[in-house]
Amino acid sequence: MQPITVLDTLGVALAAANVDTDQLIPARFMKEPRSVGYGQFLLYDVRHNEQGTPDAEFILHRPNAADAEVMVSRRNFGAGSSREAAVYALVDYGFRCVVAPSFGDIFASNAVNNGLLPAVVEEDDAERLLAALGDTPAAIYVDLEKQLIRVAEVEVSFSISTVWRTKLLNGWDDIDMTRQHANTITDFAANYARQFPWTAPRLPETEIISKG
């Protein structure tokens, strides 16, 4: 995973609350293998009309939007489904950071697992950033070590858990980290099986009978 320290890049304002996972990637696109690139599906129904014609006014269709790496939005971004595809759509489009006053819980974990920084800012600060960015892609600076974001004259701080910050700064991967604890896990599993023997799945011996 590519580490993040500083992003000196373009940002876009998506001035809406509750940008949920079903908007980030409509379910019908999730049958595709990741190799097709999920960026094309990002916010598909928000930025296209029913005939599939792109809305030229939409922020992602403005000049230079393809170079944007930071999205600023309103509260409850990524609420809803556990679909990691919502993060794939953002990452494959080129985003490295989303800034919002709050994030869906599972979305935020998924983001960090894919090197996408979910930066939490105060509601007022989100409004100031949105206003400073305006309706075209504009310069934005994000510093993960110092936990600050700057757009023109507006500078705000953001919060992120220490664990996630460390993971993103180093580009760490959980599976590698956990496998270092393999022996601890094996010991735990053995003790656990002794203490809670009933948790071991007991294969049904009889025919299945509906219990209603």
């Binding site: 819980d105 735990f188 049904p204």
Partner: protein
């Protein structure tokens, strides 16, 4: 005496394999459910050439993409949909994971099947790549949805890194009146606290009204925890729980069951246990509730009118209401009961258990639906049971389609879609824009309320329809 402990903390501690210096816990996972959408995770495993660490604790369930018109894979027209179901079969087979596939008589939606089979048990930590995994917390387990990277992590290690959430308790005092269901409790607290009101919290539901809920109703309540942003939702196990579990196929028998029950009975929040947040509702405050907007927080009692953005003092709320009303095709200040519908859907992991179908059928018996619609039971066993009770005839006679089990029109992945611009009264969990299909307009409500909407062709207070009907045939979710 030791420090009073919450139910959540008791279960969490029993599963803590290791705690890192940064305070993250590595948790042991008792049950891991995978479905068609888990293919990304299996691909990640393949890239690393890793085996599934504990296939015996992993269960495959075909639900998200399964057809509801046929149980025959060859009948699936879209080759990409067919391929999703086939990939799950291949991946589970390759790794020696038990599969409840399309043609299995036990097949169903993962969150209906798990409890029904007794795979879900109190005191467990359970995960699945699906946000409604919170459902299983109804048994007093910690259950939550995870993304594909985490699914891959659990497959590879049977553990998961988690930061311990804060714990909140939602207490519902008093007894629910007739016609008020678990769905109404959920929509009421979510409307009050917001769709991110429980973000960062594990929720414990408690109080007299909760204790009186049937197991099915508890499952509905915990299912919707995620719609208020909660990490998980749980209810302390009690006699209702034990009675439900006894003799389920995967539940221990005899002495082992007694031993398990003795442990399960210790799983409650001790008197004096500290919660980070306490929220109290009184059952009297809860009315049949429907959503009018595009977030579950946009919900109101059925006797109210949709908001008028001009009357809202908070500019952010006014802006959101304006946008939601525009998408939903509603007029500011319109009465909810004046909203005509085009379609109904009874199904999903939220409200498609046998009690839900009975509640809807009790309203529809001898009636005609004024709009088209479908009923998709939560599992194949629920379908069989409903047919044994003659509920299928009630739905069919009312003019609704009786389908096979799956996630179906809740998320539309299998092609069961609401057309653009159509308005659907739905027993599901999300009224997001485009959730049931591009341009679809969703109103969430309980099964009886959907049935009432079907009968009158518009959003309707079920209590005005069932007044005078023999109360013994009405299922209200309360025992």
């Amino acid at each position: 005496m030791s420090t009073p402990t919450t139910l959540f903390d008791k279960v969490w501690r029993a599963h803590e394999v290791h705690r890192s210096e940064s305070g993250q816990s590595l948790l042991w996972i008792d049950r891991h459910f995978v479905h068609e959408g888990s293919f990304h995770a299996f691909n990640k495993l393949a890239e690393r050439q890793l085996p599934v660490a504990r296939p015996d604790l992993t269960f495959g369930i075909a639900d998200h993409y399964v057809p509801t018109l046929t149980r025959d894979l060859a009948g699936v027209v879209d080759p990409k949909v067919r391929s999703m179901i086939e990939q799950l079969s291949r991946n589970t087979q390759q790794h020696g994971v038990a599969l409840f596939g399309l043609d299995d008589p036990r097949q169903g939606i993962v969150h209906v099947l798990g409890p029904e089979q007794g795979l879900t048990q109190p005191g467990m930590v359970m995960v699945c790549g699906d946000s409604h995994t919170a459902t299983h917390g109804a048994f007093g387990s910690i259950a939550f949805g995870i993304g594909a990277s985490e699914v891959a992590h659990v497959l590879a290690t049977q553990t998961l890194w988690q930061s311990k959430p804060k714990v909140m308790r939602i207490t519902v005092e008093g007894q629910l009146a007739e016609g008020i269901t678990a769905k109404d409790i959920a929509l009421t607290w979510i409307a009050r606290l917001g769709a991110d009101g429980a973000r960062g919290y594990a929720i414990e539901y408690a109080g007299e009204a909760i204790r009186s809920l049937s197991m099915e109703a508890r499952l509905t309540l915990c299912n919707l925890s995620i719609e208020g942003g909660g990490r998980c939702g749980m209810i302390a196990p009690d006699q209702t729980t034990f009675d439900y579990l006894r003799d389920r196929p995967w539940i221990p028998q005899g002495e082992a069951f007694k031993q398990a029950c003795a442990y399960w009975a210790t799983l409650y929040s001790d008197p004096g246990a500290r919660f980070d947040l306490e929220v109290t509702l009184h059952a009297d405050e809860i009315a049949p509730t429907v959503t009018w907007g595009v977030s579950p927080e946009e919900a109101l009692p059925i006797d109210r009118a949709v908001p008028d953005p001009e009357q809202l003092s908070d500019p952010a709320k006014a802006r959101q209401a304006r946008e939601s009303l525009a998408y939903m095709g509603l007029t500011a200040g319109q009465k909810l009961t004046d909203i005509n519908i085009d379609r109904v859907f009874i199904g999903s992991c939220t409200n498609a258990r046998i009690e839900d179908l009975r509640a809807a059928a009790a309203v529809l018996v001898g009636q005609k639906s004024r709009v088209p619609g479908m009923v998709s039971p939560g599992s194949t066993l629920v379908k069989t049971q409903a047919e044994a009770e003659g509920l299928d005839r009630i739905f069919i006679d009312a003019g609704l389609e009786w389908r096979h089990s799956g996630c179906s029109m809740c998320v539309g992945m299998n092609g069961d879609l609401v057309a653009s611009g159509e308005r659907c009264a739905s027993t599901t969990n999300r009224n997001f824009k485009g959730r049931q299909g591009p341009g679809a307009r969703t109103h969430l409500m309980s099964p009886a309320m959907v049935a009432a909407a079907a009968v009158s062709g518009r959003l309707t207070d079920v209590r005005t329809l069932t007044a005078g009907v023999d109360s013994s045939v009405q299922a209200t979710g309360a025992r």
